[in-house]
Symmetry: C2
């Protein structure tokens, strides 16, 4: 389970890099706390989580940072066929089964699936070409209503 200050999609940051200092807590089951050992030395961790409030998967979406419709797999939008989210967040502190982090961009109550260490050798490709993102000039930081479920 992930605790954050965000109660609904609209107004929630779209990525850790645009979350300002928003903080959250990722909590593993009490019996899994021993699995967090040795994580303190890492500056960032990946959180994988279930996008439990996402609307049904779509094949084409208009992402937050573009004006065009794009294929869903070419976006990070939540309305995916398999709604798993992932975020590289900054690790602040671990205490028991609680992991405090900076870069919260999920809504409060999001189910946590996995935590992995961020390893630059595996994960960092600063020069990687990024298709339509490279052309985006949007400075948007927060989600709007577009990926909310209908009531």
């Amino acid at each position: 389970m992930i605790e954050t200050p965000f109660r609904q999609p609209a107004g929630t940051p779209i990525q850790p890099s645009r979350a300002g200092g928003a903080r959250g807590v990722a909590r593993v089951g009490a019996r899994l706390a021993a699995g967090l050992k040795d994580l303190e030395g890492f500056e960032r961790v990946w959180l994988l989580y279930w996008l439990h409030e996402a609307p049904p998967g779509q094949l084409r979406v208009r992402p937050f940072l573009d004006r065009m419709e794009r294929g869903i797999f070419a976006t990070r939008a939540p309305a995916r066929p398999c709604p798993i989210g992932m975020s590289a967040v900054r690790l602040l502190r671990i205490e028991g089964n609680r992991l405090e982090f900076e870069g919260a961009e999920m809504i409060d109550g999001t189910p946590l699936l996995d935590i992995k260490p961020y390893v630059p050798e595996f994960d960092s490709h600063p020069e990687s070409r990024a298709g339509w993102f490279d052309g985006s000039r949007s400075r948007r930081k927060r989600a709007d209503h577009r990926f909310e479920r209908e009531a």
Copy 2:
């Protein structure tokens, strides 16, 4: 479904960065092919997949690149409580519902969960401290038998 040249865990690369030029094919369902549109402009993609041959989750493991036992969440080992793997692979070509890539490190027949574009602004943190990985001098490239299921 992901097709690769690797039939069992032992001998499979441990990460794309250590996979040499090993190639694979990620295939989405035929009706999801339209979701791959606009992905061609990206140099890398994230593949998320189910580690279907991983042994039951453990809390402490001896990872491939270390001699010490570590908490499972401080490693990328497959024997995780929720066995989801993720890899930043180099995109070679998309044709219909097939995505060819370089950096294969999963075994043949691995179930594909999601494809996401690799976006440096969100995903790249080249200077991120990486705990015990930073101290590892292991040059190991391939898995051995340690995370195979018992027969």
